[in-house]
């Protein structure tokens, strides 16, 4: 089942500048796996060396943080919008 993931600006250099990509999977883990297989450079930006999602990257399903759902096991269904929200610091 294809699900749309929105890619934030800082990560777009690693997705051929696409702002949304369509990936396959039933859970967030499966979606991220499919996504990093298609765009291997994303992997080290999203995951630390021990394979954990980096703490300055949050993943949302619709408007809810997966940390308060089932984490990477959170199920997704068609029509859900999955967003990657990294910390940005600019202001000057």
């Amino acid at each position: 089942m294809p699900v749309k993931i929105t890619i934030p600006t800082p990560l777009r250099p690693y997705t051929e500048n696409r702002d949304t990509i369509e990936v396959e999977g039933q859970t967030i883990r499966e979606l991220l796996k499919d996504m990093t297989e298609r765009y291997p450079q994303l992997k080290r930006h999203l995951f630390s060396e021990d394979g954990r999602l980096r703490s300055f990257i949050n993943i949302y399903v619709n408007d809810e943080d997966i940390r308060y759902l089932d984490g990477e096991n959170t199920k997704v269904s068609e029509g859900d919008v999955v967003s990657i929200i990294p910390a940005i610091a600019g202001g000057n």
């Binding site: 600006t9 703490s55 408007d63 967003s83 929200i85 910390a87 940005i88 610091a89 202001g91 000057n92």
Partner: protein, 395 residues
């Protein structure tokens, strides 16, 4: 279902606050809105707001809060106005280039509304001075541009129980929220730790559309005023995302993390820490300390000696179009992994970018692959322009 946040407004005593005849006229359009009225305007007059950073976000913030009649506004900054600021930092003008940002800001704000007391702190906000500066203000607005200061502002606000009106920007995107640990989550609930240095580009490296801080800073000003008046629904527990290209606003739920190290149930951070150390040393600093760095003058001498140096520019093509060091080859940082096979491991390679940050990551990447004669141009092409070729256009 919308969660109501109750009693978020500040507890301001307006009993002895009076408006002058001039102020009645000046704030007339506020006074006739029922949600503001005379009482609200008196609240504004008795409130104090600290703006950290007199830059892109700080400019519209300071202007609107001054115009609105906030009684006392503090501004923290240590920088001087530069030509490259003027595309977005609308409080400064061409004639201010070279002046202190605080002096420039004070002049504009006093001209706009002499009733407002402007206090300036010409310093970097640090763990040593933050609590002392922040404690005398009702609300803090974070208009800074780096992770160490953002974590510092957050922690100081949590410790002092102050609301922190947050905004940050990158290129065409912005985030806004109100972190108020007394009523909801703080910044660390959202991001417990910062990214490793160099991984997330700054506005100086990644660019920002000039209008964007105008929009985000204005939204922050609006949230400040709502907190003072105690009206409407504040952005506490919500993260507003703005995408200027799509012209879309989205909102995400933020939750208070019970394990948050600063505002959780068992906090481990009970005083301000060393935020530079917390955010890590940059790849640039590592290369500087380990000698994998070359200065602009050294590079010039080597090139003039006819030494065989491969010069690689890791910026983006649109930056390369503006300026480049003669003889350099363009390989944008994101393309380096796929093009690395074209490079000879034994040759002497110097990498550069605009300021030295991106190229430092590229040097580290190549060193990990076994390149030994690879160096980072310290300070990037900006340093080259300053020290070697002042006629080159700078951006």
């Amino acid at each position: 279902m919308v969660e109501e946040i109750l009693n978020f407004g500040l507890n301001l005593d307006v009993e002895n606050v009076e408006l002058t005849r001039e102020e009645f006229l000046r704030y007339g359009r506020h006074l006739i809105i029922p949600e503001v009225g005379l009482k609200g305007q008196k609240k504004l007059k008795s409130a104090s707001v600290l703006i950290v950073g007199a830059g892109g976000l700080g400019s519209p913030l300071a202007f609107y809060l001054t115009a609105a009649g906030v009684g006392r506004i503090g501004i923290v900054d240590f920088d001087v106005v530069d030509f490259s600021n003027l595309q977005r930092q609308i409080i400064h003008t061409t004639k201010d280039v070279g002046r202190s940002k605080l002096e420039s800001a004070r002049e504009k704000l006093s001209a706009l509304n002499p009733n407002v007391k402007i206090e300036t702190y010409e310093t970097r906000l640090t763990s040593e001075n933050a609590l002392e500066i922040i404690k005398d203000y009702d609300i803090v607005v974070d208009g800074t541009d780096n992770f160490p200061t953002r974590y510092l502002v957050n922690d100081a606000c949590v410790l002092l129980k102050k609301p922190n009106v947050y905004g940050s920007i990158f290129r065409f995107e912005g985030q806004v929220s109100v972190f108020y640990a007394e009523k909801g989550p703080c910044y660390r609930c959202l991001y417990q730790e910062p990214p490793p240095p160099g991984l997330v580009p700054s506005c100086a490296e990644g660019g920002v559309l000039g209008v964007l801080p105008g929009i985000i800073g204005t939204l922050q000003a609006l949230e400040v005023i709502k907190l003072i008046l105690g009206v409407g629904r504040p952005l506490i527990g919500r993260l507003l995302l703005f995408d200027a290209l799509k012209m879309s606003f989205r909102e995400l739920k933020l939750r208070k993390n019970p394990n948050c190290p600063v505002c959780g149930e068992n906090p481990t951070i009970k005083e301000l820490i060393d935020y530079e150390a917390f955010c890590g040393i940059t790849p640039e600093q590592i290369l500087h300390e380990s000698g994998f760095e070359i200065t602009a003058e050294e590079l010039k001498a080597k090139l003039e000696n006819g030494e065989n140096i491969i010069l690689i520019d890791v910026r983006e093509p649109h930056e390369y179009e503006i300026n480049r060091i003669h003889g350099s080859k363009l390989i944008p940082l994101s393309k380096l992994p796929e093009m690395v096979n074209e490079l000879d491991q034994t040759s002497e390679i110097v990498l550069y970018c605009k300021m030295g940050g991106r190229s430092a990551r590229a040097v580290q990447f190549l060193r990990e692959l076994g390149f030994t004669r690879v160096k980072n141009l310290a300070g990037g092409i900006d340093a080259w322009i300053e020290k070697v070729d002042p006629n080159m256009p700078k951006y």
